[in-house]
Amino acid sequence: MLSFRAKLPALVTITLTTVAAIGIMLVAISWTGVISFTKTQLIPRYEFVGFTQYVRLFDTERFHVAFSNLFIYGGCFISITLAFGFLLAIMIDQRIRAESLFRTIFLYPLSMSFIVTGLAWQWFMNPTLGLQKFVRDLGFADFSFDWLINPDKAIYAIVIAAVWQSSGLVMAILLAGLRGIDRDIWKATAIDGIPAWRTYLSIVLPMLRPMVMTCVVLLAMAVVKAYDLVVALTRGGPGNASDLPAKFVIDLTFERANIGMASAAAVMLLMTTIAVVAPYVAYSFHKLRR
């Protein structure tokens, strides 16, 4: 087999890249963990205070808002994007005209940064500038579309913008899946008199499971990392109504100079992420080994 000498360049390469990257990340994660047990404010101060930062974190209203928003946002965003993206894929799969034009239009938001997406929707949803003003000017004085400035709705405004950005991705992935399905099942179900919508739900969808999984993972990653979109669209407002953990951590780290508590919040965010994606990583890892 391969001698050590022959393998050496490969080992060096891997050490300088993979091992280094994994090392840096592990060190950084542990470091954050250590800081979360200290009094650190502006600069690191390794004076250990046990779980004080966590206790304070759980006693902080804004932390609870940010985390419950994470689940509202994640749940709504992932389910709506999946459903909408699947519908788009099905429609495009109906041998329509100008298919590639539609595909291009549904996908282009994906190339935009969240900052751009956030700003674009901010103008549309701004009640004194966008849709609400437009409809009111038409004479419907009672029309109201104030999600952006309504504390109960602001998080859903972020969902709209995020769905706009990501539906095309789901469409593209599932469309590829639909195209891979044997056309004969349509003949079979037509003979049995099963309506098309039932075929999609109970036969096609299960066949697309791996693609749906891919979509869910991609969308979940976007949820956990959601920062730019909130900054550009609502700045976490009104008040802190649309705050998300990623923004909470950044604000505490870089604006409030309360790095101990920020690290505690970051650790909580990491735990949440692990709980959500660990099954998937374990599953892929398992497949990799085989």
């Binding site: 022959a6 360049p9 990257a21 239009i105 940064s113 003003k133 979509c215």
Partner: protein, 284 residues
């Protein structure tokens, strides 16, 4: 037959409504950026510009003010380029070499490392940021161009390595064996055999990185330093700093200019783009 026609109408109606949903924000941005301020004040946001002109675009590009500096966002464009080009080249080069080494050189514990890399792709940046700030400070590259490039390479490495590793692992093993018999070494095989076989996967990786790095806001804001702020960060500054009246036309023109690069990449690259984004999903 009638129901079929109704079905077709339904499909096209759905597609039309969806198209409107996808185009509305861009329609507003483009039309508003072509209007003058009086027209924006008086008219409604959906109206077409009466006298379309590009003056807001020029202002956004070269003379809109951010603080005392009234140079528009062209500086941000240059910064984003300076960050993006080396970051993309370095991360793609390192990752392809890395993926090749992991896939074909029977390295012990390769699976474990891949598993960890996969996990690395999911870690929220927030958990790593502050220690990374300290590390880059210690190295003296915090707030510099090399600093932000190193950070982009670090965060790009896990996903790119997995993409390349999966690609090289899918090649027939005979190729490797034959090359080894001929006595070729690690780099020789990479240069002469593997690289020439991988243009499509390289394109995918490059597209993924180009759009990802261009669209980055958070990392650039924190690590690039004030002289190298990327275009997205400058855009956010521009939109949030006003002098007297908010100039929506300039803000929207600046937004379009910022989005233009990845949009062009998208339009030019077609299905590679989708492949790039989906390979980010870490196909096991």
């Amino acid at each position: 037959m009638n129901s079929k026609i109704i079905g077709r109408i339904g499909i096209y109606a759905f597609l039309a409504v969806s198209t409107a949903f996808f185009l509305i924000p861009v329609y507003i941005m483009v039309t508003t950026s072509l209007k003058g301020m009086p027209e924006i004040r008086e008219g409604n946001i959906f109206a077409l510009p009466l006298d379309p002109n590009f003056s807001a675009w020029f202002k956004a590009w070269s003379s809109a003010c951010i603080g005392m500096a009234c140079d528009g966002i062209r500086g941000g464009f240059g910064n984003s380029l300076k960050i993006m080009v080396p970051s993309v080249i370095l991360s793609v080069a390192l990752s392809s070499l890395n993926g090749y080494a992991l896939a074909l050189w029977n390295v012990r514990r390769a699976e474990l490392m891949l598993g960890l890399l996969m996990a690395g792709a999911f870690i929220p940046y927030q958990v790593l940021l502050y220690p990374l700030v300290i590390m880059t400070r210690t190295l003296g590259i915090y707030g510099t161009l090399p600093g932000i490039i190193a950070i982009h390479v670090l965060f790009g490495l896990p996903v790119l390595t997995l993409i390349f590793r999966n690609f090289y692992a899918s090649l027939p093993t005979e190729i490797m064996k034959a090359a080894r018999v001929d006595g070729a070494g690690f780099m020789q095989i990479y240069w002469r055999i593997m690289l020439p076989m991988s243009p499509s996967i390289l394109v995918v990786a490059v597209i993924l990185q180009v759009t990802g790095i261009w669209n980055d806001y958070l990392l650039g804001l924190i690590f690039a330093g004030r002289d190298n702020l990327p275009m997205t960060a400058q855009l956010n500054n521009l939109v949030n700093s006003t002098f007297g009246e908010k100039e929506y036309n300039v803000n929207m023109a600046a937004t379009i200019l910022t989005a233009a690069t990845p949009l062009l990449v998208y339009l030019a690259s077609g299905r590679y783009f989708v492949r790039g984004i989906t390979s980010g999903a870490v196909k096991g």
